[in-house]
């Protein structure tokens, strides 16, 4: 019983001895950097361009940000879908759920309160948001 199958620590790569075909770790970090730079540059372009429909810019920026977070998780933090990474992925999924609930829930509830707030009918909508 010399070889034991354990979970892998977050941030650790599988060792080269166990998997000869795995790409070198330096290459993994470099690919991650290149993709992250490309995504960041695209984000800056998206925010400043007039070519895109302005209503879709916010959604596009959100998609680019989530994609870049995924790139960081895979290439820098080495989160994988393999069986030895299950605990890390489960914890991450729970964290992502809480983050989603906190952000979406807060925005939903406060927007709802804003629309339902009793204001004199003469007051413009902007008055409610400005204070």
């Amino acid at each position: 019983m010399t070889e034991v199958r354990h979970e892998r620590a977050p941030g650790d790569r599988p060792s080269r001895e166990m998997n000869e075909s795995a790409p070198s770790e330096f290459l993994v970090y470099t690919i991650g950097l290149v993709v992250a730079v490309l995504l960041t540059a695209t984000s800056f372009w998206t925010a400043n361009t007039t070519l895109l429909w302005s209503g879709g810019v916010v959604l596009g920026l959100a998609v680019l940000a989530i994609a870049q977070m995924g790139i960081h998780l895979v290439f820098f933090l080495h989160i994988s879908s393999g069986p030895e990474s299950t605990n890390n992925v489960l914890a991450l999924a729970f964290g992502a759920l809480i983050v989603f609930v906190v952000i979406a829930g807060t925005m939903w509830i406060v927007a709802d309160m804003n629309t339902n707030m009793m204001m004199p009918s003469g007051a413009p909508m902007s008055m409610r948001m400005q204070h």
């Binding site: 940000a65 933090l77 964290g95 983050v99």
Partner: protein, 210 residues
Amino acid sequence: MNIAVAIDQIPQEALPSASEAGPAPKRIVVAFGFWIFLLSDIVMFAALFASYAVLVRSTAGGPTGAQLFNQTTVAIETACLLFSSYTCGLMSLAVNSRRYLRTYLGALITFALGAIFLGLEIREFLSMIAIGAAPQRSAFLSAFFTLVGCHGLHVALGLIWLTVMMVQVAVFGFAARVQHRLLCFSLFWHALDIVWVGVLTVVYLMGVSS
């Protein structure tokens, strides 16, 4: 080969499952515990993001984000943090292969890029306060300084931590406990970069584009 077939072909007796193998090595336990802490830290950032998203239009007649933010500064800050994340990764490779010179070099570049990021951020804050856009000016600015300042505080703590780790490497060498702490540091530094991606998008890019 199909991965399902490949898994079936692993002799299961040869590889006892984790529950049969006894406690996991300390490196895995330490890193997993730190992973849980990082996720709780990100949940705290989520609360700050939520309050910022709610208050972003509450400028009380004061300056808006589009008037305050300088995209050139933000682009340099982003580049600094991204490259420092990369050099931090290269440093952890040097730590795993126990190379002193590369570890010190990676730590030095990581520290320098992090310090440039922090310096630019402090300069941005001071220039905003100088033109009257202080945290007490409006709810938007309170939320802005809390969110971005909290991230900057994390970066500052990370720089102190990195300095302490390099002293430990110099004194203790690559002892197991020093390697565990360096693994935790690299997790922390990469997580800060992930939070910065959110700050960059939600605060700066959405602020100047809307």
